[in-house]
């Protein structure tokens, strides 16, 4: 490439005037010059006359090229110092340079060496050309030089490019990655620890942390697992129950689902269009009018939906604890919002698995609430019932609740984490139970009293009746066991949102058959429930004012339920939130103590250990 001789001559002819303002012409020259070094590098071997020859010049050209884009300090013969972005150098001739956005740091001109602060500021020159004969030195600090051209540019952040934390904070000095070697202990490692972490459930068999602590440090543990979870009564009928749970779990898992998330978990390819990106799959907000499966417009619509489905959907769900409420699996209708959809969606007895998923997904969204709702219900029932109890109660409840529209029978067993269920028969039951509970929640029933009777009573009391004529109605979406929520009962318009959708009984909905175990002793009792008494905060569901998807859940309720979040800054959320995502998070649930003052979501139900957790055992 040719140097522009013009450029060089310009500088020399103008003599002292070596600074120039922005001039397009100049810039163009500069541009060509810029690429020069690279070309020159290639051309060096040709030994072009006038260009750098041999490897001597190469290094200089290379280093000069590395400076492109770098902020440098240039010292001039007259003592002036400029700071600017290195743009180009005349490598073919005399190495005059061009800076962009240069500003004078020190004036070595006529006025002498004035320090900066005394300056009246001048805007930086867009382009500054410095002829070689004025150039004394160019200082580039922390210039990256390496045989790998990448590091030249990588150092600078590239906004708009996705940067992971590790890439941002890494230094190019650090290995990008390295070959991992398995660790080999060097001899003084206590034996017997190889399998310590293999099976977290192997308590008592492989590793007892409490024992170790006590022996090592004399720390006496007061840990009693049963505080945090419901004791599993592995009674006589355990085997039976286990098997049943397994069966239901299998059924549930094998079901068809229309929910994307559930399908994904189960490994079904739900959507033929594989070009759905992550955003639309997991976080996009679906348009309001898509009231099909996902009743919510919220994010995690699907999850919410699933949750709902789980809760209500499977016909089964209900069975477990929540009496009645579930029966109206499709309470949706009652809720003001697209709840209906939910219900319908849930029709296909989705299972708890979904719930879990969805619940977990829902974060701050309405879903959350719904899930919360669900979970709330759940815990109540869940906690109270242990697997065995569940089984028993189930039977008992079933009979008792036959009045429900739905025959939510099997629901109990299958729900919940199928995965969990797999673990233990009991747990299977529990998980099922959990899911059911979830659904229950939806229904809003679950007052936490395991007994169906009580339940019914509760529901009645709670919900202002409406919900289900017989327990069935409770299906209100998500409102968690109703207890706190004050029930969505649409039917009961008196204290409820007049704009809420009517509850439409879905004759096809499975009746909820709460298993007496529904409510473990939740202290919560009624004090804590946050009843809709505080109507104000709640927004009308239908409109989804908050945009929380939850709406559907509470058809009537809206009031509270919803989102505790916005109105009440209290934290209620987090703890309760936990239940939502049941399965996934074991940690959370344990040990939650009932919170008497919980507002929003029926605390009691939650308090109980998360049914999900129970299954974890």
């Amino acid at each position: 490439m040719n140097m522009q001789p013009g450029y060089a001559s310009k500088s020399s002819t103008n003599g002292s005037q070596y600074m120039r303002g922005e001039r397009e012409g100049v810039s163009n020259k500069a541009k060509s010059t810029k690429s020069h070094p690279a070309n020159t590098l290639n051309a060096v071997s040709n030994g072009e006359a006038g260009s750098l020859k041999g490897h001597l010049g190469d290094g200089l050209v290379y280093l000069t090229t590395c400076k492109i884009g770098h902020t440098v300090e240039v010292h001039l013969k007259n003592g002036s110092v400029y700071s600017g972005i290195f743009h180009a150098a005349d490598v073919e001739k005399d190495f005059g340079i061009i800076l962009k956005m240069a500003s004078m740091i020190k004036d070595g001109g006529v006025r002498g060496h004035k320090s900066r602060p005394e300056f009246v500021r001048k805007p930086p020159s867009k382009t500054l050309i410095i002829p070689a004969n004025e150039l004394v030195q160019v200082i580039a600090k922390d210039l990256s030089i390496s045989s790998d051209g990448m590091s030249n540019a990588v150092q600078s952040e590239k906004p708009g490019e996705l940067l992971t934390d590790s890439s941002i904070s890494k230094s190019f000095l650090v290995d990008q990655g390295r070959e991992l070697q398995p660790w080999i202990p060097d001899g003084d490692v206590p034996q017997g620890l190889d399998n310590v972490f293999d099976d977290p459930w192997k308590r008592g068999r492989g590793w007892d942390q409490f024992k170790v602590n006590e022996s090592l440090f004399g720390v006496k543990s007061t840990f009693d697992e049963e505080i945090y979870t419901t004791k599993l009564d592995r009674g006589i009928r355990t085997r039976e129950l286990e098997e049943r749970a397994q069966r239901i779990a299998r059924e549930i898992e094998g079901e068809n689902t229309r929910d994307l998330h559930v399908a994904e978990e189960r490994g079904f390819q739900l959507n033929g269009k594989f070009d759905i990106d992550e955003e639309s799959k997991y976080s996009a907000v679906l348009p309001v009018d898509s009231f099909d499966d996902s009743g919510f417009d919220e994010e995690d619509d699907k999850s919410l939906d699933t949750c709902n489905d789980e809760t209500f959907g499977g016909p089964s769900t209900s069975t477990v604890q929540k009496p009645a409420s579930f029966s109206g699996q499709k309470p949706t209708s009652s809720s003001g919002k697209g709840y209906e959809e939910l219900r319908d969606a849930s029709q296909p007895s989705r299972n708890n698995t979904n719930v879990d998923q969805s619940c977990s997904k829902s974060d701050d969204h309405a879903q959350h609430h719904s899930s919360e709702q669900r979970s709330k219900d759940f815990p109540a029932p869940g906690s109270s019932i242990s697997e065995s109890q569940l089984g028993e109660r189930r039977n008992k409840n079933n009979s008792e609740f036959s009045h429900s529209n739905k025959s939510a029978e099997e629901s109990v067993s299958g729900h919940g984490d199928t995965k969990e269920g797999a673990k233990l028969g009991g747990s299977g039951g529990t998980s099922a139970w959990k899911t059911v509970a979830e659904k229950e929640k939806q229904v809003g029933e679950v007052s936490g009293k395991p007994k169906s009777e009580s339940f019914a009573g509760q529901s009645a009391s709670r919900r202002s009746s409406e919900s289900r004529p017989a327990p069935s109605t409770s299906s209100r979406p998500g409102l968690s066991p109703s207890s706190s929520i004050g029930s969505l009962s649409s039917s009961e318009k008196s204290t409820l949102n007049p704009n809420a959708k009517e509850f439409k009984l879905n004759p096809n909905a499975k009746s909820f058959k709460p298993t007496a175990a529904a409510r473990p002793q939740s202290p919560m009792a009624d004090t804590s429930f946050y009843y809709p008494a505080a109507p104000a905060p709640v927004q009308q569901m239908p409109g989804m004012p908050l945009g929380y998807g939850i709406q559907p859940q509470y058809p009537g309720q809206q009031q509270m339920i919803y989102y505790p979040g916005h109105q009440h800054p209290q934290a209620f959320y987090p703890p309760n939130a936990q239940p939502q995502y049941p399965q996934q998070q074991q940690p959370m649930m344990l040990g939650r103590q009932p919170r008497p003052q919980m507002v929003y979501m029926p605390p009691p139900p939650f308090q109980q250990e998360n049914p999900y957790n129970q299954g974890r055992e």
């Binding site: 690279a38 590098l41 750098l52 001597l56 010049g57 190469d58 290094g59 200089l60 290379y62 280093l63 000069t64 090229t65 590395c66 400076k67 492109i68 884009g69 902020t71 010292h75 001039l76 013969k77 972005i85 290195f86 743009h87 490598v91 005399d94 190495f95 962009k100 956005m101 070595g108 300056f119 009246v120 500021r121 001048k122 805007p123 930086p124 002829p131 070689a132 004969n133 004394v136 030195q137 160019v138 200082i139 580039a140 922390d142 210039l143 990256s144 030089i145 045989s147 790998d148 051209g149 990448m150 030249n152 540019a153 990588v154 600078s156 952040e157 590239k158 906004p159 190019f172 000095l173």
Partner: protein
């Protein structure tokens, strides 16, 4: 190309700078430093030094590209055998261009914040105001929130324009800023 003010160090001009040599260098402007020769080309007569007496680990080096014609003092300090540049160095031009574009963008943004022909005091007031209010320069006036104008000398009574609320707010902030900067004024 040697206009008047010829290079002082003519005697050094023709000297070769072998790569790896460590020198203590003095230039015509009076600046002094120590550096290791990284590259040298006799034709334009420029040397690139890595600052310091010992090569720095890693790939970031403080470099100085010096016009050898302006070197006034040179003393040989030693030699280092570390290969500073390998034979197959290559540059990522695109990356460099992107880096430059980014730097220019940033510099332009910075330049926006600098007032033209304003005193340092004015600039510091501007900087302090910009921490909490959206400010921009308009000649030598500070324009806050696009409505309120603060004229020189940037005292509380130099605040004009905007709604009453905005105006008062700017006044208040200005007062606090001045107080914090311990500037003289009302």
């Amino acid at each position: 190309m040697d206009p008047a003010g010829a290079t002082v160090a003519n005697d050094i001009g023709g000297e070769k700078f072998p790569v790896g040599n460590i020198y203590s260098v003095k230039v015509i402007t009076g600046d002094e430093f120590r550096g290791i020769v990284m590259a040298y080309d006799p034709i334009p007569n420029f040397v690139v030094f890595e600052e310091g007496s010992k090569p720095r680990d890693g790939h970031a080096k403080n470099t100085r590209m010096v016009n050898a014609s302006f070197i006034t003092g040179l003393s040989y300090l030693g030699k280092t055998e570390d290969p500073l540049l390998t034979d197959d160095c290559w540059v990522n031009l695109d990356g460099l261009r992107a880096k430059e574009a980014l730097a220019i963008r940033q510099a332009e943004a910075e330049a926006e914040r600098m007032g033209v022909g304003v005193t340092a005091e004015a600039q510091s007031i501007f900087d302090a105001l910009s921490k909490t209010l959206p400010v921009q320069w308009e000649n030598s006036d500070i324009l806050v929130m696009k409505e309120v104008r603060v004229r020189s000398p940037y005292l509380s009574d130099c605040v004009f324009g905007g709604t009453d609320a905005a105006n008062n707010r700017v006044k208040k902030v200005l007062e606090l800023v001045r107080r914090r900067l311990q500037l003289v004024g009302t």
